[in-house]
Symmetry: C2
Subunit: 315 residues, 2 copies
């Protein structure tokens, strides 16, 4: 099952040094989920050959311009390119009215249904769910209501090892039982032990997107043990005061959150326009959390399938 993140914007409030405002695309099982939509996001889609038409769900963390000024253009182009399928837009409520206003002044209307789902960025809850995974909100601490988004795979069923068992001889309800981890009784009274004929499924993977936020340990229980954390690092450590003032984080603070939440890997982004060279962010963050990477536009980060420790002892 594909689970990967394409980075489209790594800048902060003002674009600079070829860094664009926030936007990234999660590809989960060939469905694209757009996280934030700063100005120029549709142009970044073109640049990095991501198909905008494949986005069905858009999530806006908060209503600062660098996270939503691209939404009008993005939706407008979907419309002009002939979209008819529904687009789900998860965002703070005032954006709905803003979009209505935009359509009204430009004397246009979408040919597709824009399904606006207002978020409550102050609460932790499941915002989206399907059979395979769910997306939870992560309330963040910023100077406007803001939440992150946590993609969490659901546990998968056990895989039947067809080299060990002939499925054509097993009734359908028992196949289901095997997948659910149960042993089954067959005709002659014999028991087929689950551990002998099934394989462990991959472990559920998770990705947390946390921007914009000041350092907040409140998020740690929510993102505990995630495989990948994207955390903002707007400033280097010597700008701690400015970070607090503007409700943003420093590189070390991002690293501390990664360390304290026990995540596997950290990607930092949302770099202030004052920094041309972002390598020092990596150096500072790695002191706290060595498995850190810089978000770079066009990067594709893959979450590989995770082989689980078997729930059964090996013979």
């Amino acid at each position: 099952m594909i689970f990967e993140i394409k980075i489209l914007g790594t800048g902060s409030a003002t674009p600079a040094h070829r860094r664009h405002p926030s936007a990234q695309v999660v590809n989960y099982n060939e469905q694209l989920y757009l996280l934030d939509c700063g100005e120029g996001t549709q142009i970044q889609f073109l640049k990095y050959h991501v198909k905008a038409s494949r986005v069905n769900n858009i999530f806006i963390s908060h209503l600062h311009g660098d996270h939503f000024f691209g939404i009008m253009g993005f939706l407008n182009s979907l419309n002009l390119n002939g979209r008819t399928e529904t687009v789900n837009l998860y965002a703070p409520f005032p954006l709905s009215d803003f979009l209505t206003h935009m359509l009204s002044i430009s004397n246009s209307r979408f040919q597709f249904h824009l399904n606006f789902i207002p978020t409550n960025p102050t609460k932790h809850y499941v915002l989206f769910e399907n059979e395979l995974f769910q997306i939870e909100t992560i309330p963040l601490k910023h100077n406007i209501e803001c939440c992150g988004f946590l993609f969490r795979e659901k546990p998968r069923k056990r895989k039947i090892d067809t080299t060990k068992i002939d499925l054509s001889k097993i009734p359908f309800p028992d196949i289901k039982n095997l997948k659910n981890g149960l042993d089954i009784a067959v005709e002659n009274g014999k028991i087929i032990f689950n551990k002998e004929v099934t394989l462990d499924p991959p472990l559920p993977r998770s990705y947390a997107y946390c921007t914009d936020t000041m350092y907040s340990e409140d998020i740690i229980p929510l993102i505990k043990g995630v495989d990948l954390l994207y955390h903002e690092a707007t400033f280097l450590n010597d700008m701690l005061e400015r970070a607090v003032e503007t409700c943003h984080s420093t590189s070390s603070q991002a690293g501390q959150i990664a360390k304290k939440s026990g995540c596997e890997k950290l990607i930092i982004g949302h770099f202030s326009s004052r920094y041309k060279d972002i390598e020092p962010f990596l150096e500072e963050t790695k002191i706290e959390f060595p498995n850190t990477f810089l978000a770079k536009e066009g990067d594709l980060i893959t979450l590989p399938e995770k082989v689980s420790q078997s729930v059964y002892e090996q013979p």
Copy 2:
């Protein structure tokens, strides 16, 4: 006196083939005038090293997204970069309310005064004026109220040829008279003839920006004899029907307007995203008007000073 145009966007409704939405900057005497502000305009400023901080006046032709979706980001970044001087924004009235709305939902306010001057795109009038030039509206025919902008230099005064006359011996009011083309009487009753001591000033230059519009001969008297005409050419000739339907122009139509208005030079732009290669636009337009050029992003088009035919006969 510098008079030049920097092209920042040559695309139409949807960005494509590295063409961005409409935006261009007129540099007149080191003052920058921004014409339209499609999504990503502030990023184009950075790419082409144009200083956004030097823009004091912004003109929006009409309220279709590809002409104004960049305005929020542009103004927002001016603000975040510490702007305190007034910005004059000339645009159809509903944009004012839209900007207020945007500031409200993002919980922000500008530190500079945004002086909003509502335009009346249906009337031809002088929208802006200073000592050196004026900007007139050009009512266009589109499916929403829309106007072009005509930059027209004012006639300059005659230049005194200091190789012919010692200015220290001429009273100030007479210097003014000479500049205004008058002969002057000096102390001994002698007449100093204007033609003997002054040089012709350069002729006034003019630039007309006409997008978006269907073919309309109504604009011809307004742009008669301009030095440079930017006219949209959204479609090639074989899409005439579609051009009429969407209130846009074809390449030949742009050429015909240039020819019929007797302009010196034509630049075409606003190419539909359906065309990857825009060279055929040039070929088609040149049949009507040979002195045609394609607008290309990053291009700088200079209007050189025009030496006039002397108002006096040569000896």
